[in-house]
Amino acid sequence: MLSKELVAASTVPLVLSILTEGETYGYALIQRVRQLSGGRIEWAEGMLYPVLHWMEEEELIESEWREAETGRKRKYYRQRKAGRKALDEEKQQWMAVHETLTKLWNPKPRSI
């Protein structure tokens, strides 16, 4: 399980990355993260929505209510131009952390 701080820091890049695959709605976003992370990244589900609304205010994403195949209405989210740019920056930062840590831990990760 991820720490609270890491979950908070990684939510925006995760959402932006999933939205590059195409538009989707909140519940599917959460399911996708759970599936991709093998259950290691667990969000308190309802907490995602305030983040999505904040991202919408920042014009990183946009949303639209539409009727789904089930007949119920769902709010679909889409990435915006600024979102793609923000994701590129996030990518560079996360890769910098990742590469540094990988260099330190490889080839032989020290066991405790």
Binding site: A28, E45, Y49, W65, K75
Partner: protein
Amino acid sequence: MEPEAPFDLNSAIQHWRDNLAQSPAFSGENLNELESHLRDSIANLQTGRLSSEEAFLIGVRRTGDVGALQAEFGKVNSQVVWLDRFLWLLLGVQFWVFIVWADGVVGQSAVFVGLRGLNYDFSVHPTGISVALAIAADLSLFAGTLVIGSWLVRRQGQSLGRRVAKLLKRPSRLALGFGAFCLVWLSAYAVIVLVRTTLLRQPPRIVTAVSISDSLASLIHIIVLLALTLFVAKKRLHAAKV
């Protein structure tokens, strides 16, 4: 043992939603989205072997604790949360004004009765206009308080009747407080009408002067308070729409 009532998923979801709707942290749209999420979650859980009741309980649990959700949504909707608090504060101030005013009625009556006891000469001009203005202002304050109060209850798209029925079933401090407020308001209003009609019939000079200045002061006071309350209510309504 009595058989348990069958579980009604829709009413359970409605109940859960009503519970969230009591907080100004959630806009109507937020609630729609959370409900949509919960329904998706339940539908998914039911594809396993869970009953609708079990799926509901797990879905609610996964969606999140009410207090935590309220805190997070409140950050995004902070303007609405604060306007709501301010509106309640203003209603509280109106309540306070009313107490002070009722207190004044008792004082005026005491002065009037006392002067009569001293055989004071009651033979001066009537105070018709100012008293009528003050009464109109008092009435509009009361009506405004009622309207804003009922609007606060109806926000988040809840019907007034259902909310009132719910409050009566589980009498909260709000319902009791507001009921008592209206009751005291009305009875005290009856007292002041009685006192003022007596004043109009026999207006002594001193009582007239005191009454006019008092009425005008409270008139200005009430108008300012009402204007401020309406301004905040309008802002709050606008914020809720956005």
